[in-house]
């Protein structure tokens, strides 16, 4: 049970200072009793973790390990399977279709994340400032898109963007013009940007709003006494104090966007071909595996995407690290 010692000491109810750094016990009898107690606690701890652990291993670790194993082999349609080591990875990072997808999601993140942040932060600050009934109603309305499942949301936008049924077309026809098709090759970037912002801004707004609610109101009083304007309170007190929530959102958004899949996949059939099978790395991996029967290469693409996500998140965390913060 000695191996499990570290787990035990990290459990909240045992992390009193003397347990973390137990002083050498004076008598052997005492130590053996505390060992027994620790062992029993460890057992209980593991049992509590077990439900999560089983699911974690069965649905995350095992598939990951299997995908990693698959990615080390190569199978062509006309050839048998052979071990190829890292060949698939070398191929992936020189595959223009994969790189094109990566470039798209990186570009998409660079535009999407600031837009989303600005919208959700502005909404949270406004809602935090107001205390009317309208504010509560607005909060719910802004959050609502997040409660709509992504697939349904995307389907809905497909109809809204439709050149035949969409409201845009009706609006433009009033002025005898034809509406731009927001999923055309040149517009699809913005069309998707709008869908994703609509979907997620409310969720991020709630996170920031919760952080704002946690700020001690005496700080505002002190600021007022010092003569700070509402604007100054917002920019000098509120935003700095919710910065850790902002960093959290950024990381969520970054990971989510780099793995972009559902919305383009759903909108693909109504996009007149502008959402290609290699549109984003995840869509590419999906089509490689289930459309083109290249499970090995698809696994390598998935892991390569994982590497890209890891690097992006690391760069980001490094850039936003604070002195003494555990993020660095």
């Amino acid at each position: 049970m000695a191996v499990h010692g570290s787990t035990v000491t990290s459990l909240p109810h045992t992390s009193t200072p003397d347990k973390v750094n137990p002083p050498p016990p004076p008598e052997r009898r005492i130590r053996s009793r505390s060992d027994r107690m620790n062992a029993r606690r460890a057992r209980t701890g593991w049992l509590f973790i077990a439900p999560f652990g089983v699911v974690f291993v069965a649905f995350l670790l095992a598939p990951l390990a299997y995908a990693l194993y698959l990615s080390l082999f190569t199978k062509g349609l006309a050839t048998g399977t052979r071990f190829s080591g890292l060949e698939n990875y070398l191929h992936a990072f020189s595959d223009p279709q994969f790189l094109k997808g990566v470039w798209f999601v990186v570009r998409f993140s660079l535009v999407l994340i600031p837009v989303q942040m600005a919208v959700s932060l502005a909404a949270a600050l406004v809602l935090d400032h107001l205390t009317t009934r309208l504010a509560r109603f607005s909060r719910l309305m802004i959050f609502l898109p997040y409660a709509v499942p992504a697939v349904i949301g995307a389907l809905m936008w497909g109809f809204l963007y439709s050149p035949t049924f969409g409201p845009l077309e009706q609006l433009f026809s009033l002025f005898h013009a034809s509406a731009p098709f927001l999923l055309s090759q040149d517009n699809v970037f913005y069309g998707l940007l709008n869908v994703v912002t609509w979907q997620w801004a409310g969720y991020y707004m709630i996170i920031i709003y919760a952080a704002l609610q946690g700020i001690d109101p005496t700080l505002y009083e002190a600021a007022k006494i010092d003569g700070a304007s509402e604007r100054q309170v917002a920019f000098r007190i509120k935003i700095p104090l919710v910065s850790s929530a902002l960093v959290l959102i950024l990381i969520f958004a970054l990971i989510g966007t780099l793995q972009f899949f559902s919305e383009p996949q759903i909108l693909g059939p109504v996009a007149n071909g502008s959402i290609t099978p290699d549109f984003t790395p995840n869509i590419y991996a999906f089509n490689l595996a289930f459309g083109y029967a290249q499970f090995n290469y698809a696994s390598a693409i998935s892991f390569s995407l994982g590497i890209v996500v890891f690097i992006a998140v690391y760069i980001f965390m490094f850039a936003t690290r604070k002195k003494g913060s555990n993020l660095s």
Binding site: L77, Q185, N287, A289, A293
Partner: protein
């Protein structure tokens, strides 16, 4: 023992039991096929069951007809998606080594790819030859590789030109018989302020490939007996000519660039936004299913033979067409082969299929029957379209050589069509790019490209 430990142990045990339950269920179904969740009713519960994936719109009737007339075997039918989504599930099942049905509906252009993966059973040893006489040489060639037969044909897709009689009449145009006339007519309609004459949808690459073949292009030459060698000629002059022709129509604004089978396209069909629809014999069934040709539009459609490049030497081509194949995961291959041969082969089902125009039957007994030949097709305002257009087209069809990577090829052709539709490439450039991409792909898959 304290309560916390007990609680934890109980929940862990419960979870483990649940997970074990999941895998147990999957194991039970792995004996070749899943015959527990049927869409249809099993009539003779004691008979062995054969699982089938298919998406014909009238499949429920077809399955009932089969089950009612067979006491020795029963079909358990599921819709696993239409086209692409079904192939994706089948592909996954092949990789997993379990989960495939016993009998699967596949389009003719998908067969070679699955044959190459040893996912289909050679039916020649299960008496496929017995039903060969029911089919034309061209359609039998599409399901055969040398002496091996990998599927039983059901439905063909001879192509023709469906058009809006009311639109053509309005602009005083006779149905064009050549592609040159087609362009002239399109220009005339456009000059008079009429709708688009046709449509180049990026999501129907199989139709575009058929049109390339009509001009004499042979995109792929592949023989399963010689697995490693393939010829690819997507940049041949005929292929370029066809792509250039359509790119030209798009550039001049004569045809629309809307993807087909979408809600927008269907509503355009209903509203008369497209004067013609270059399509296969099964198309009217799918259109009527979506509400086209009803109400005010009733009888506004008519069919004409596919426009030709050289009217003195007409060529007939096929789009789609589907078959029943037996998968290598079938528990009882012989029984599954019986189903593949017998399902959708009885008179009642075939009649239902052609009357609703959801299939164009390939069974010669139907093709030669008086009822089918002289049928006044409702969708075409009583025109005897079978006799005048589709049967001659089917009889002239010579078969086609498909590549073993149709899904990939279609995705690439679709991407090129999108570029053509956006005016970013000419037909020549698209053909050259496509050739390069496909040759590279074939090589990366271990083929020798000749």
């Amino acid at each position: 023992m304290n309560k916390k430990a007990i609680a934890a142990a109980v929940s862990a045990a419960a979870l483990a039991a649940t997970l074990a339950g999941c895998s147990g269920g999957a194991d039970a179904a792995s004996a070749g096929s899943n015959t527990t969740n049927c869409t249809n009713k099993i009539v003779h519960a004691d008979a062995p069951k054969v699982s089938v994936w298919a998406w014909y719109p009238n499949m429920a009737t077809v399955v009932d007809n089969f089950n009612n007339s067979h006491t020795d075997v029963q079909v358990c039918w599921t819709v696993a998606g239409q086209g692409g989504p079904e192939y994706a599930k089948f592909q996954t099942a092949i990789q997993a080594g379990k989960g495939a049905p016993d009998v699967i509906m596949l389009e003719a252009d998908q067969l070679t790819g699955f044959e190459l993966q040893n996912a289909l059973v050679d039916l020649s040893k299960y008496g496929a030859g017995d039903v060969k006489k029911n089919f034309s040489a061209g359609s039998w060639k599409d399901v055969s590789q040398g002496h091996s037969v990998y599927a039983i044909p059901v439905d063909g897709g001879p192509m023709a030109m469906i058009y809006r009689k009311d639109v053509l009449d309005k602009y005083g145009i006779k149905p064009p018989t050549t592609w040159a006339e087609y362009e002239t007519a399109a220009q005339k309609v456009k000059d008079a302020g009429g709708p688009a004459f046709g449509d180049l949808g990026s999501n129907v690459p199989a139709a575009l490939t058929a049109l390339m073949a009509q001009k004499g292009a042979v995109p792929f030459t592949y023989d399963l007996a010689d697995q490693k060698n393939i010829s690819i000629h997507l940049d041949s002059q005929p292929a370029k000519d066809v792509l250039n022709y359509w790119a030209g129509l798009v550039k001049k604004g004569l045809v629309a660039t809307q993807d087909q089978f979408t809600t927008d396209y269907i509503s355009g069909m209903i509203g008369g936004k497209y004067a013609t629809y270059i399509s296969a014999a099964w198309a009217p069934g799918y259109l009527t299913g979506s509400g086209v040709g009803k109400g005010n539009e009733k009888g506004t459609f008519a069919a004409a033979p596919l426009p030709q490049w050289d009217p003195s030497n007409p060529v007939s081509v096929n789009w789609g067409g589907s078959t029943f194949a037996v998968t290598s995961q079938a528990g009882d291959q012989k029984l599954a082969a019986e189903v593949a041969k017998g399902l959708y082969a009885d008179d009642a089902s075939l009649t239902d299929g052609w009357k609703t125009q959801t299939i164009f039957p390939l069974n010669q007994n139907v093709l030669k029957s008086d009822a089918f030949t002289n049928n006044a097709v409702d969708f075409f305002g009583g025109q005897t379209a079978n006799k005048d257009i589709y049967i001659p087209a089917e009889n002239a069809y010579k078969g086609f050589n498909y590549s073993p990577f149709s899904v990939y090829y279609y995705a690439q052709l679709q991407a090129e069509t999108v570029k053509i539709n956006a005016g970013k490439v000419s037909g020549d450039e698209a053909a050259t790019e496509l050739q390069g991409i496909m040759v590279n792909y074939a090589k990366s898959q271990g083929f020798t490209v000749n």
